[in-house]
Amino acid sequence: MSTKRTRAKETRTVAIEIDHRTVRCAEGVPVLRAAELNGVFVPSLCSHKDLSSFGGCRLCVVEIAGMRGYPLACSTIVQEGMKILTDTATLREMRQEILQLILSEHPSSCLMCDEKEACRESVHTVRKAGVSTGCRYCPNDDQCELQTLAERLGVTDIHYPVYYRGYEPEHDDPFFDRDYNICILCGRCVRMCQEVRGTSVLAFKYRGSKTQVGPAFGRNHVEAGCEFCGACVAVCPTGTLAEKASKWDGKPDGSEVSTCPFCTLGCQIDVHHKAGRLSKVHAHLDPEINDGQLCVRGAFCVPEVTHNHGRARKPILKRGRYFREVSWPEALGEVASRLQGLKPEEILMVVSPDLTNESLYAAQKFIRSCLKSNSIDSTARWALPGGPGVWADLFSLPISIKSVAHADSIIAVGLDSRFSFSVAGVEIRRALREGATLVTIDARHSNLARYTKHWLRPHPGTEGSVLRALTERLVAGGRGHVSPAAIDETGIDKWAFERAAEALASGENLAVIVGPTAFALDANLDLAKALLRLGGRETTTVLPLFQGANTRGALELGVLGELLPGLERAKGRRVSLADLLEGRAKPKVLYLVGESPFFERPECDFLIAQDIYRPPFEVDAFLPAASFAEAEGTLTNVEGRVQQLVKIEDLADGAVTGYARPDWFIFGALAEKLGRAGPQPKNAGQILKEIGTKVAGFPASPDRRPRRLQLSTRIPWEKARSDYREPGEYRLILEPGGFRHRGIDMSLAVEGLSELALEEGFRFHPDDLDELGIGSGDKVVLGVSDLEVSGPAKADPDCPRGTVWVYRPFAYGGIPQRANLAPLYRFGASLFNVTVSCPGASHAEGAEPQVSAGGGGEP
């Protein structure tokens, strides 16, 4: 599409001479890159392929004929006929001298130690030390670029006194520790944070020998707006920055390329493993999606979610008042006997949209062919507001993550990419660096708003109308008529709208990214119509984002009861999740697969939970499922790519490793017990092959090509919900948030996530709080219909006046503290008005018990 610029660059080459060897390389690249591409090693500690040249470490000095002094390979651009020497005696001496200077500021006792060889042979344990004083006490031992370079340049002694900076190592922020005593100030992290991530959290502070890296003005990382994407950790050549979870794992044995199991972007990750266990995750340099970038979930949460001590790893049955760990045959026997002879509407299976394609397919096949029922449902439905019809149409559009970076104009609607979909944010900022125009449509401030002059701030819930109006302008080439009344209704300044439309119109390639918040706020039908209109054009890329890692797979593979795999209409009676929640149906057996969208045990005779963690209420049978690290499979991302999830941990069953089984395997085993099906699949590949033959358009093996959904018959759209308004002067907005994976909120398993200040409580504009006479932190009571909910108030200048914002877990369950808000959830995603009262003590106390009652403890 718009790769003209880069293509033009790549085609022209120049001839240069490196170390008396004539080579050709692309025009405009630095000497360092040219040397690297031609297999010539030039030492450097501060350069990085994604970052601008810095020239700080001074190790890449070279000699170039006709140039004064010793130019730097990293910042000198190749020119036709350049004669470069990279390895002369003078250069070697200079590099040694400079490396010694670097090492005189870096604890390197063991690097220079006489006992080094012996030490390596006999000492195998990494010392876990609070402070790194030498290689064996450094989390980066054996993986350190400085170490490698010292060996390669033959530095065995330092002529200078060694300084120790004496900073206190920083362990306070979540996810990664920082010990700036061993920092060499190469500035990679600073540039990564500024240039690639666009967050500018990290900076250099102070001068001279006191120069240090960190957020300016003494703030901590959370306050400074850190996304905790881990990009700085990944580029650090030393052990200064180290993941808390894997800090002392030592050098990994190897790594596998896998797919991040946490969201629908499907970023590619390098999963490092040590002694058969998953150790840490780095972003894979995959040019298709994330190109070396991740978000906080991908970068830090993978090991902790699968290794948390709270993992349930053994089958459990309820026996009387007790829960017993039992063997698989016993558990399967019990479950099978309960499933025997049920009528179609006596069972309901609820499936998580985080499961692999194989497990999703196996789940619906189990329900439909073994139990002859259509009573299968999924919270994927909640992740796709507007209904399957809308989303089936959206998935028929060409969706591309990568094209965002090549767009000239970008519209971002309801997207905050700080902790979720960060990679989309990075792509947007890549485009902005190339001069693209960004328009954000967002009722609240988002982390993208700071990059644009065009922040359209409509009333919450009218984002769709604004996008539709913009669409009219863009599609009709600026002549499209937009009624001023329509703009007025959204609360946007007419001129701001005109300026934004004008700014967008100049672009050739348009990208529209819509975050889950926008879809959730009553705007979904308008949004979808606008996206369909825009997405139909060749020059436009759309990227509708939603929760759940495999939600698209869930839609395509038939875990919504009314749709079969391939989005065919299902016939037959069924019970849905909504029926259960709204009390219209009472199935006898409830089978929760990786999902527990309840705060309390739902009413049923027999409750089966199959997950990696136990749900926060009593179940009758628990079947331990294998996590993403322990099972193979595929995930379908938003673009329709079917990407591989690699089995990293293949450890024998045991007391510690547990007895977890892949979801699809459990369904097969149950089917065998029930005796109602033929031979069961032996591995995930077989299932995918079956999917390939049964489902039109779905690949039979992992296929990373983006795929548009091919619909034989269009699924009709559901009717728009009528705007449900209660009397009340404040508009309540339940913003989908949280870090859900399968049945839990990840912040329960990953300590760092719970520190990320996803403020609990009701957020008001400070002026509103003043008007109400409520202080930040005071208890307020929200009243709607006949119910009242209380919680602390919080001043948040980003909220529009007259609104109350609350984070709503996308699929509830998860954090017990949120249980007191549960009554609100029955209103679903819609916006509604509430009354706000500052408690007289009686009100507040009336609501208090709800918190503890709903909260529950550990089951």
Binding site: S53, F54, G55, G56, C57, R58, V61, G69, Y70, L72, S75, M94, E97, I98, L101, I102, S104, E105, H159, Y160, P161, Y163, I184, L185, G187, A203, F204, Y206, R207, G208, S209, K210, T211
Partner: protein, 623 residues
């Protein structure tokens, strides 16, 4: 065009009126040097005097006229008389001085420096024949201390903005030709030919070009740029207009450190005045030339005087240099061609344009043309701001202008922390770019710090290295780590813990930094070490081998002694000694116990200034 003409006519009238004023006029030197010496109080007391005596007189606050050591300077101009200058006029002197003029009607004889008249006046010397001023050639400083810097009329009356008007009537290439022929070189330090920088900038294709006036004067002991802006801000602005017209800039910035509040104030008011005259904005004076000037206040980082760091700072980034090329003239501020000239370079331009290239090039040497301002400071009889033709010898500057050192000349440090110390053997060296460079120092922006025999070279070098290592931006290893090691080795030597091999270490490291550092500041940071080692090796060696500081400065290498013959036993020193090292009964010579002495210098100071005998305590080399 008309408004400027009428304004100038009006200005000339006003200026002449002032010269032949029927009312008395009082000029007070109120630049930073004057203010530091108490000019603000002097102004108050002058105003008080005039109000009390109900005398109608004008008070003019002028900039620095040069001999800062004489501040506060107050000039009195009685009707019909020339302006007469008085030095060290404290508020206490004001009454006497004015009584003499207003009550007795006669010229005050004490504190007299000189008069500004063309002919003799009642036997008073001429001001510009004062030994400090006699040998100076004031071109860029011509208005400093003469005019009211906040009154644009004064500048206009003295041919202000005529040079710019002249430029507007010429093609840019012709202006460039004049500057080229004048031989003007950058006054910021490196001495790059000004015209060539302009041409590169002009010839780089771009829709926008920027001009930056570098007023981030950061060398310790340097104040030329500050004084010029404080004393004659319009000269700098006119220079900017000329430069911008010639190299095609449409936007100018003055990057000035926030520690110069008075200069910033003067500059701001000057910009407003110039805007009112229609000399800034679109279509200036009816031409097609558009130009605007903004002030960017720097937070006071030494490194921001480096061109690329300065640009980063204006862009809102951390002031850190980047590798060159690309040079700012090709790719500078926001990626556009950017010309960065020093305050003095710009301030000189109007004079060159007005008087022609030949006139300017008559001053100076073959390769270094024109004049250069210096802040002449240190151990000298006469200190202050001077402007001399390039090529003048060090001796002339130090002895003729500066009056020499009381304790004997030892060395002169040129170019601040990037320059070097030159000893007695350089006294007859002409001051120009090439000669100073060949000696291992640099011209720099114009700091001349004179050291006398009581100054220790090791200590001075240590001072400069501590400065550069603290001011290093921290980006590149040689500068950040290397200067720290240099400073620490010097510290060791000054403590008497040095080894002979340290000298080789210093040299080796200094050369590594010179060759390996990223920016000009890093590359020149070791210059003080290298020159001192070259010219004052003996002094280093005596610190190392004899454990002796010949100048008796390095604390660990000196001892204190009471000269018993001189000591009257006044007990002042006994009272101030914090450790009880000095003992003795009243009226008898005291005794100093060196084992208790912590060398705090209290007794020495009190004996010098406050004791009955005075100078009975001496600091001597050797621990």
């Amino acid at each position: 065009m008309k408004t400027l003409e009428t304004q100038r006519a009006h200005a000339v009238q006003a200026w002449n009126g002032l010269q032949n004023s029927a009312r008395p006029v009082v000029y007070v030197g109120a630049g930073s040097c004057g203010l530091a010496a108490g000019a603000a109080e002097v102004v108050d007391s002058v105003e008080g005097y005039l109000a009390k005596k109900r005398i109608g007189a004008d008070i003019l606050k002028v900039g620095c006229i040069g001999p800062c050591y004489l501040e506060p300077l107050v000039d009195v101009q009685m009707p019909g008389n020339p302006r007469i200058s008085y030095s060290n006029v404290t508020p206490g002197v004001v009454g006497e001085l004015f009584d003499s003029f207003f009550e007795k009607g006669e010229m005050f004889r004490r504190h007299l420096v000189g008069h500004f008249g063309k002919n003799g006046f009642r036997g008073a010397p001429k001001f510009f024949e004062h030994p400090m001023l006699e040998r100076q050639v004031r071109i860029v400083l011509r208005n400093c201390g003469i005019i009211d810097p906040e009154n644009v009329d004064h500048y206009l009356a003295l041919d202000g903005y005529k040079a710019f008007e002249k430029c507007l009537s010429m093609r840019w290439s012709d202006v460039l030709e004049i500057v080229k022929n004048s031989g003007l070189r950058g006054r910021g330090g490196a001495g790059f030919p000004t015209w060539r920088k302009w041409l590169v900038c002009r010839e780089t294709k771009s829709d926008t070009r920027y001009l930056i006036c570098n007023a981030d004067e950061g060398d310790p002991g340097a104040f030329m740029n500050r004084s010029l802006i404080e004393g004659d801000p319009h000269a700098v602005l006119e220079g900017m207009l000329i430069a911008a017209y010639t190299m095609g800039a449409s936007k100018g910035f003055v990057y000035i450190r926030a520690e110069y509040p008075l200069a910033i104030k003067r500059l701001k008011s000057a910009i407003v005045q110039v805007q009112e005259l229609g000399l800034l904005g679109r279509g200036i004076l009816g031409s097609e030339f558009d130009f605007d000037i903004s002030i960017k206040e720097g937070a006071g980082a030494f490194v921001c005087g480096e061109e690329t760091a300065l640009i980063a700072s204006i862009e809102g980034k951390r002031g850190m240099p980047r590798t060159r090329p690309p040079f700012p003239a090709v790719e500078g501020l926001w990626g556009k061609p950017t010309l960065i000239n020093n305050v003095e370079t710009l301030g000189t331009l109007p004079n060159i344009i007005r008087n022609g290239a030949e006139w300017y090039s008559q001053y100076g040497t073959e390769t270094s043309k024109g004049t250069k301002t210096f802040s002449l400071v240190g151990k000298l009889r006469r200190t202050g701001l001077i402007e001399v033709p390039l090529g003048m010898t060090v001796r002339s500057v130090v002895y003729d202008i500066g009056g020499g050192s009381i304790k004997g000349f030892k060395a002169v440090q040129t170019g601040g922390p990037s320059g070097g110390c030159l000893g007695e053997e350089f006294l007859d060296t002409p001051i120009d770019y090439e000669t100073l460079g060949a000696a291992g120092s640099i011209m720099g922006s114009g700091g001349l710090i004179v050291l006398d025999r009581n100054t220790c070279i090791v200590d001075t070098t240590k001072y400069f290295l501590n400065f550069t290592q603290a001011e290093s931006c921290g980006k590149c290893v040689p500068c950040r780590v290397g200067t720290r090691h240099l400073a620490n080795i010097l510290e060791r030597i000054s403590q008497g813990k040095g080894e002979v091999v340290d000298l080789a270490r210093l040299e080796r490291l200094a050369l590594a930094i010179k060759g390996g550092a990223l920016c000009g500041l890093g590359q020149s940071a070791p210059n003080p070490v290298l020159t001192s080692l070259k010219y004052f090796r003996d002094e280093f060696l005596s610190h190392i081998t004899d454990k002796r500081c010949p100048a008796a400065v390095c604390r660990d290498l000196v001892h204190y002694r009471i000269i018993t013959d001189k000591c009257t036993g006044c007990q002042r020193c006994v009272k101030v000694c914090p450790t009880g090292a000095i003992t003795g009964p009243r009226s008898e010579p005291h005794n100093l116990d060196m084992s208790k002495c912590i060398k705090c210098r209290s007794c020495y100071e009190i004996c010098r200034f406050d004791a009955i005998a005075g100078d009975a305590i001496v600091i001597e080399p050797g621990a």
